[in-house]
Symmetry: D3
């Protein structure tokens, strides 16, 4: 079997893949119609971001009033800013700075990058919605914006990825290093990541250089999308849209996790998983068998976040 | 089988569960006798804490004399303080602060919380003793107090938990976020945790919102007490008194790990484990079989810390 | 079977083990010939280090010119220093400092230790080469020097280990604590580690007090070399030269991983692995069977970094 | 002439001198009546402080609403605190800290001192009122509390003075050093200073060890109350109640500036100035002549702040 | 004599006064011709600033090459920035920040203000030229930009003044306080200051609320432009274009120092000084006598900086 | 009269002038005898420094025991160091650092400079003794070492001066700027300063580029040794050995203050002062008259510190 090829079969990635998405942004020559559509979409995205930002400020204002001890924090990070981009640039600049990489330098870098490419802001909005909807412990957008290391790590990654695509590799890698130090989330700047991502808990997540993650994916902590050795080239997993990757799962090599698939917690996956199938165990096996794996109904487990309904099929406490 | 109900069967949690403990502190109406007994217990706890604090200062003084390069650190964190509560409030305030959450603010918060609820200090004392007794690498109480991220994360969690019970959720969550950033230990403020806890190494521990951990439990690093999806409600594990949870174990859903049970390193547990039974593997199986699992002699594996005596029964290197 | 003894059988550790290496440095009475040879070796090591340092500065200068936003960082960490030892002492001092352990104190400590024992610098050089050769994501030596938390954690560990051997235990443990906080890499100061080590990604690595790691070993993130309980004494794994330990592998107890062996990602290993054998799974099994395990051709998988070629033998997606 | 004696003649210091004030607080044996009166006075002082604190918070809240960029600052310094003492302890702790004297330590020190001696808080209140009434550039109490280096230097001095009287001299001097570094205001910890003091602009003020400053005094920047040489003993000026000392005035030796006297800007004074007289020039001369100096009507020039009405008598531009 | 009026007599202020200058910028309705002229002037100013910035970067690059120990500083403050405004905003943000006023917030504030009002940048350029031409100790523009506290204090003042004119008084005063703490230069935000100003050494300079300083003025350290008491209203000195105010001079009240006048070091001035006259001494007298003061040839002593040529006329060592 | 020449007449500078001293160190070709004498002198200086260092540590240990709140500060600054040079390098590095000039960089710079030139250390020892003997408020050597901004500013100046003489001007000026910011003491790096100097209080002292200060001089705060204009060349005062310069004195131009002379507080001096004469007032006059000035008995007023014995001759309160 050949697990070295890697153009995902048609249909596996229902939404636009992030790699396509990026290419589109970068170099597609748009017709006039497309330009108009894009303008409309951009305006809609702006409106959505503005609405969300209004809500975030309202949440922060409510919390600041209820809790004076936190008000200084909320004003400096949220309430003193005029936009989501400024707020997150400020927050990341202060979180990721060090004595040799000053907060002012990072703030400038984040703000310039967010301002120059609205798609980053749109992805931020989608990620905030993802956390709010999928994580029952997420009590407000502002809570996610300020406190979720997975959310923050991804936003910072998007900036380092942008730098990487602009051939500013040393800067991208320095930022990568700070993200890994501060959040214990290690995403290579070259990795391509979609929108609507939830990195829940996030500590220990590792995503390799040639990994691709689709849209609306949920990934728990300690998940590895790792490589296969010291050879260069395309050597990391591709995660389809809507996938759910359980805590501590290790996926190695240029394998494809099909759209809507689930990988159980603690699984070690080295072979493709078909769309909407479920892989569990170490080594991972497909629920239902490799010949005719069970295909679940959920189109987007990354959104439903059901980790355990396959328990009875899998674990029966027999040695 | 129904793993959604969750009042632990009588006898499974031999000591008072932390949830009961907390309720008692909060709203039990005590008779005069009970009040007298409580006063005696409080005096005894104060005496124990004072004795331990004397010992910690003696250790720190000895180390400061032997190692001038460390003396400044030991004086600022231990020797300049008049009580364990002040020392730990100072140390946590300086460790968990950031440019937007000042050390003075956190110090104030910690000190006020420790001072207002002596049960926190008592739990700190029990945790220090747990580390000193159970971890052969722990060479002194002061070493644990200053350097054990698991110990420090739990003490900070107890404060965030207190804030949570006082409906100061945004502040509790901001503190939670700092603990997760600084120690890579992610314990939801709502989680209830007993006394005499050892989080050994601690990096990567994740404990969900509705999890409960009994007394005298030992939990190694990378352990997850996780949820089952995006539904709200009681959805995280309950760990009985005296349990031992091995490194990298993943326990998901509202399952009960019975008092004195062991969970082997790297196990993935999604179903209840009976008291004093042992679960190992991915998916976890009960040693001895699910019908009649082996019940070990140890009443409190969380204290004996025996990780590997079940090896011969479990792993035999046969594919 | 007895897994408590632990002198590795002859031949299993082809290179000098780090424990021997250290003893040699400390107390071997050398003949005149040996002294001459040592002087020649020292001169060669100096030359190698100087050459590498020249290259690192050239890389940094190139990057500073191409990326002014990063130049300040590159000058302060690399280009303003006259030697590799000064650069790394400066960088670690600034990364590991806290409000109670000042950067100037740590810088002094690192610089004095590196200067007083050239073997540390030599090991640093070997580690830099290991990362550069084995990790396809490592684009330059300077990138590794500045940004690899695994590399930095090991260099800091070597200093804490040196302090430990000088009976400066409280200082060694304070440093250990900072490394664990900042890099989420937890290596006990007493652990003995060889040269040419790659800790790839590194987050969550835990190495216990009596563990020994040979030369030219590669260890992925989330790997545990853990103990067996609360008994003191020799209780942690011994990793032979050239081993490759996959992501999330948990090796517990005083077991021997023979030279050139591989441990698969996510494996839980509690029994010895023969040289050049491969152990996979939870619980781990030997590829080829315990009676006659497959012995691979690679002398040094820690260098070849092949994680997945044993897939077809192991995982076949059958429940 | 003898300028070494120095008990101010009766009547010169109309209000209680600060030295008496302090002694009273410390060791006076009060009769029952006196105790009752003191309790009433204390309650009145508490009420005044509470009222002022309410006003300060209202000012800060108004400013925070009008200026989100400043809200974080206002919340952390004022609005998150429950009392004036906590606010000023926090603010001074953060302003005076250094890498070797941590903010948490200083905060603790300030808070403990303010809490243990209410007379400090009362003096703070009087100083705030002094600035608000006398300085037309002072637009609010909160403005003075946060931004007036003279005000802040005096409050910090009162704490260092308290430490000095408790024979904690090294700590008092370390604090003194920080005040001098941060505010460029150098007041020896032993100097006795009354209430209702305005140090306007304050940069460069120097007050020596045995200096005494009465109540309701206003002192401009660059003013020196200096000594006479290297002999120990009482060697610095005594400033009576209600005096006004102009910018850059230098008063040297154990001289007495009588109650209600004025010293002109830039004057150099080495001999006593009678009550309500005016000294100007270098060397200073008494307006009206030394035999029969002009006695002005103002009882308290320190409050009226009239610097220049004596111009026509003094300066006429003739060489 | 009436020293309360204060419209400077025609001719005394040869250049545009800074107050007029500001009004012009704000609300003058310009004709088309004026608009064209303004556009040309703006372009010229941009070109001049660009040229100066090019030179500053060249100086910094030369210094960075010659002195690696300083290169990090030079890159972070100058070489990594794309314009003078960004460089100075970064530098001031890092110099003036505190634990409660973050560098990122200040950087944002400075950058927004400099960007929104080009006249600030133009004044910065003029001040840089003033220091370079007039101060023989100023060896380069970059030296002044980085190291001259007087220069930096004025640039920060211009921002606080802008905030003041926008009725953002609390923020202006907070900034004012930081400038006074950090640079020991205390300029009230309301004070109006022209272009081409040199504050040499600068420590201890105090400029009151209603003071006005013309263009091309040089002011030495310890100079006070102070008020006359607690009455509100116009109460501080007006310094005409081209004046030179010697070290330690104290000028009090709403007096006018005519264009091109000199005030000798240590002088105390309370009455007007005619244009191109010289006032010296305490109290100040006019050189040549008040009836017919000597009028010197220098049109702009603030540029020639001749402090001492009037010595023989003034001081002859006779008591 | 010509005040532009400036080789001090023989006898005016009794001790070696600092300029000669420095030249000697740099480029004198010593005979064998001289070399032997120098070696003996160096050994004596080493012994004196070692003795003083022992005493400083004893003082600090005593204070640390008496005041635990200060112990951390005393250990980090004094007790953890092995020599006076290391202690002062550490202390200055931490005091003078900023976010763009790191403490580790400055520490390195100070330590290297002190180590490479023992004459700096010897001057430090003489300055410590000067403060201890002359200032009655100086209660211990350690108090001076830690807390005297004048002492610290001079030590830092000596390093910046050394850099200046090595043609490392930009670094010297950056350091100069930090000294001026932090201590409000502004000494140009080129200024030559002798040994046994006391800068008492020190705030506001300004010393120009071509100024020279002899040995055993005492200078109070706000003293200016300033220039005469914008011409380059030798334009600042020369202060002979043993002089005493009172607070706020302003000495301008290339004038010579003869050995053992006194300048009264607040004086403005623009002409030479003969040895052992006293100049007072603004403008300064010689006590006794310019034709036959009074020559006092004190050989070294800088040591006796008598500021005021000349009062009766000078000031008599007559207008």
């Amino acid at each position: 079997m050949d697990n070295r090829r890697r153009m995902p079969p048609a249909g596996e990635l229902r939404h636009q893949s992030p790699s396509n998405d990026n290419q589109a942004t970068d170099n597609q020559s748009q017709s006039a119609e497309a330009a108009a559509a894009a303008a409309i979409a951009a305006a809609a995205a702006d409106a959505e971001a503005a609405g969300l930002w209004t809500q975030i400020k309202a949440e922060a204002r409510r919390d600041a009033e209820a809790e004076p001890a936190l008000a200084s924090y909320l004003y400096s990070t949220i309430l003193s800013h005029s936009s989501l981009e400024r707020s997150i640039s400020f927050h990341l600049g202060n979180k990721l700075c060090s004595s040799t990489l000053l907060s002012t330098l990072l703030y400038d870098l984040f703000l310039n990058t967010f301002t120059s490419d609205p798609s980053l802001r749109n992805a931020t909005v989608a990620d905030l919605r993802a956390a709010r909807v999928r994580d029952p412990a997420c009590i407000s957008f502002s809570h996610c914006l300020l406190n979720y290391k997975g959310f923050l790590a991804i936003q910072a990654h998007r900036v380092s990825h942008k730098l990487w695509t602009q051939s500013r590799k040393p800067l991208a890698l320095a930022l990568h290093s700070r993200i890994s130090d501060v959040f214990a989330v290690d995403i290579h700047p070259a990795a391509k990541i979609g929108k609507g991502i939830l990195l829940d808990h996030a500590t220990g997540v590792v995503v390799g250089e040639t990994a691709v993650i689709g849209n609306n994916v949920s990934i728990l902590h300690h998940v590895t999308l790792g490589g296969t050795g010291k050879a260069c080239g395309d050597r990391h997993p591709k995660i389809g849209d809507g996938c759910l990757i359980g805590a501590g799962a290790t996926i190695l090599g240029n394998v494809l996790i099909g759209a809507g698939a689930k990988v159980g917690a603690g699984s070690v996956v080295l072979i493709d998983v078909p769309p909407r199938a479920t892989a569990v165990g170490n080594p991972a096996r497909l629920v239902g068998g490799k010949e005719k794996p069970t295909i679940h109904d959920e189109e987007c487990p990354g959104e439903s976040m059901d980790h355990t309904s396959f328990i009875s099929e899998w674990s029966d406490y027999i040695i």
